[in-house]
């Protein structure tokens, strides 16, 4: 099956810093999502981005499907950005998502 690897596994930032999170996947996909899980466990859908680039406020994401990776950029980080970031991919023609192991981000005030 598809393997999904995220890096780095852990990241500590000072408030205001920028960061890049990476998601590598082992097979062709046409569905990719990024999620943020807050410290209370709630998962928030950040982006649906099977290819190309999207931006939403301080967050942006880029997926290069032909090279099997996606990047999530966080600019001017805030303490509320803390939590775990997951990417999830699904094989073409299905909505069965495989989640990566996540990047745990802590933003310090």
């Amino acid at each position: 099956g598809i393997q999904v690897e995220q890096s780095p596994p852990d990241l500590i930032l000072q408030e205001g810093a920028n960061s890049t999170l990476r998601c590598n996947f082992s097979d062709s996909v046409n569905n990719l999502q990024w999620f943020h899980q807050n410290p209370w466990g709630q998962l928030i859908n950040l982006f649906y981005i099977p290819s190309g680039t999207k931006q939403n406020g301080r967050l942006s994401a880029t997926t290069v499907a032909t090279e099997r990776y996606s990047l999530l950029y966080i600019s001017s980080s805030q303490t509320t950005d803390s939590g775990v970031y997951f990417c999830a991919v699904a094989i073409s023609g299905t909505y069965k998502y495989i989640f990566g192991t996540g990047t745990r981000l802590k933003v310090l005030a």
Binding site: Q33, L43, N45, Y48, F86, A88, Y95, F99
Partner: protein, 111 residues
């Protein structure tokens, strides 16, 4: 707007007892519905998904089952819980496309 509910929020059950977790979605019709489990400190594992009433696909052989008695209701069950069933159970929906939205989850501890 669409809303997804899960209950209970937390549950402590003894080994061998039955389980029933409920998930309901409001504000949409004929959603795809999903059950995931998250072990402590790990990613999410897809357990079941459903594209319609009575249509359930199981992704991982295990001690659990799922049912969809109504269009916007998804139930996760077990006849006899095991210690390994402990975890954080999340329900999600998508409709009409592939973008998924998650409920608040149920933390299950089997003792």
């Amino acid at each position: 707007s669409q809303t997804i509910h899960q209950w209970p929020a937390t549950l402590v059950q003894p080994v061998g007892s039955p389980l029933s977790l409920e998930c309901t979605v409001e504000g949409t019709s004929n959603p795809n519905l999903y059950w995931y489990r998250q072990a402590a400190g790990r990613g999410l594992q897809l357990l079941f998904y459903s594209v319609g009433i009575g249509q359930i696909s199981s992704e991982v052989p295990q001690n659990l089952s799922a049912s969809r008695p109504q269009d916007r209701q998804f139930i996760l069950s077990s006849k006899k819980l095991l210690l390994s069933d402990s975890g954080f159970y999340l329900c999600a929906w998508s409709s009409p496309g592939p973008r998924q939205y998650f409920g608040p989850g149920t933390r299950l501890t089997v003792t």
